[in-house]
Every structure is written in structure tokens, then in C-alpha cells.
Amino acid sequence: MIVLKDVLALLDGELLTPGASLEVACPKVFASDLMSDVLTSAEPGSLLLTGLANSHVIRTCSIADLAGVVFVQGKRPDAEAIDQARAESLPLIATKMPMFEVCSRIAGHVQDGGHER
């Protein structure tokens, strides 16, 4: 379980959807650039980590009931996609960190029981 506000701090992230609640707790984290895999395997309420930044990511998360998205490696969706996410109350976070480091930091945080190291 990881809370979005901890994700933002751990990844030195930028919240792209101001006003979105960061108190959301995600029971699972799913990392993929393939939306086909998200639709097949991500559980509802999961946090998506991805290097794909287009409007299909937002729509896929909305369809599959995901709780939020982290765009890794400095990727950012365009303004239209961000507006779409805001309309659907889907929090978006951008980080400059690469995928492996993002996964590693989140996994470490979860293994530590959610406490700051």
C-alpha cells in the first residue's frame, strides 16, 4: 500500500493536476508502457508507472479504475490530456527519475512499511 503524497515526495515529483487529492492509498503499483497490459493485468485502484505520455493512458486508467499515474523519465502528457485527467479526477505526477529508480524507491518504501527512510 502506498499513498500518493508519499509517491510525490519519494520521486521528487511534480503534480500535474493541482487540486487532486493526494491522500489516495493505492493497494498495488503497476509499471508498463503497454496499455494492452494495463487493461489485462492491472487491478482496480492501482497506481500506474509509465513512460508513455498520451491521452490513451488517461482513458485506459479511467476505464480500468486506476487511482493515479506517474510519468517517468521526464515524460509529460500534453495539456489536453492533463485537462482530461482533471475532468476525471485522475491525479497525474511527473518525475525525472527513470523507471528502474522509480520502481526501486516505491518498492523500498512499501517494504519498509511506508515509513520514511
Binding site: 503497454l34 496499455m35 494492452s36 497490459d37 487493461l39 508513455l52 498520451n54 482513458r59 476505464i63 480500468a64
Partner: protein, 148 residues
């Protein structure tokens, strides 16, 4: 609309219209949510509808998506005009894909569309004629609770 149906609506989908991809599936999801269907049923129907809509956008020229809801089931029929599927059994194989590089760059075309529609439905019928089009009938059984 048959006597059992509490809701019926048809939606057009245009092949190649990537900008609107998923708009019909999102609408179907909202409608089913408003009808009070349980979240698991709504999610299964939304995913199946989205995969089917993406298939139309990626491969077909146009389609009609028909949503019919009764207290027993959600039925989504996708009737497209397009190239059709030459080998349905092969197309149902996980990982088999004829997607282009552009489709894959958008995050789709991993060869999971039809298998994932099957996974999210209780019954799936696929009929296709090469050079004419494909008809999918997706049936998802509900727990009998629907409000309109």
C-alpha cells in the same frame, strides 16, 4: 427494444479516429454506473467495450456499437465494416497481432484485444467475413439489479 430490456442505445465509431478512441467505452461505463450495476460488472463491460472500440479504430473503417441492458445481462454488439478476420482462432490467441508500429507506439496492438474481451465477458460470439467486416457479441451477466 425487447420486453426484458431496460436500456438500448447505439453509438457510431469511426475507424482511424485515434483522437476519440475510448469515448464510446467511457460513455457506456458512465451509463452502466448510473444504472446501479455493481462496479465489477461495470469494469468488465467497460474494458471489453474499450478493447472492441480500439480494434475498430485500429483495423476497421466504421462500426455501430449497440448497448442493450436487461436485468440479467449487458449485451454489447460491435458490428464493423472492415477487412474482417481471416482466422478467428489465430486472432483469439494471446500475443498474436497484426498491429503496425504506430499502433504499438500508442500502447496498443499487443495481441491481447480479443483474448481480453473474452476474459471480461461471460459469452463472446465472433463472426467475420473477410473483406466485409466483423461482428462481436459480448455478453456480461449481471446480478439482476438494474435501475433506469
Amino acid at each position: 427494444m425487447s420486453a426484458e430490456e431496460v436500456y438500448r442505445q447505439e453509438f457510431p465509431v469511426k475507424g482511424g479516429d485515434f483522437a476519440k478512441a475510448g469515448a464510446v467505452a467511457c460513455l457506456i461505463k458512465e451509463l452502466l454506473k448510473d444504472m446501479g450495476l455493481d462496479p465489477k460488472t461495470v469494469r468488465r463491460a467497460a474494458i471489453a467495450a474499450y478493447e472492441a472500440e480500439m480494434n475498430v479504430i485500429m483495423y476497421a473503417w466504421e462500426a455501430r456499437v449497440d448497448l442493450a441492458v436487461s436485468p440479467q445481462e449487458v449485451r454489447i454488439t460491435v458490428d464493423d465494416r472492415g477487412p474482417g478476420i481471416a482466422d478467428i482462432e489465430l486472432a483469439m490467441t494471446e500475443g498474436y497481432s497484426t498491429a503496425t508500429t504506430e499502433m504499438r507506439e500508442l500502447g496498443f496492438g499487443a495481441g491481447m484485444g480479443l483474448p481480453n474481451i473474452k476474459r471480461n465477458s461471460d459469452d463472446l460470439r465472433v463472426d467475420s467475413q473477410t473483406g466485409r467486416g466483423t461482428r462481436l457479441e459480448i455478453i456480461i451477466r449481471t446480478n439482476g439489479h438494474v435501475t433506469t
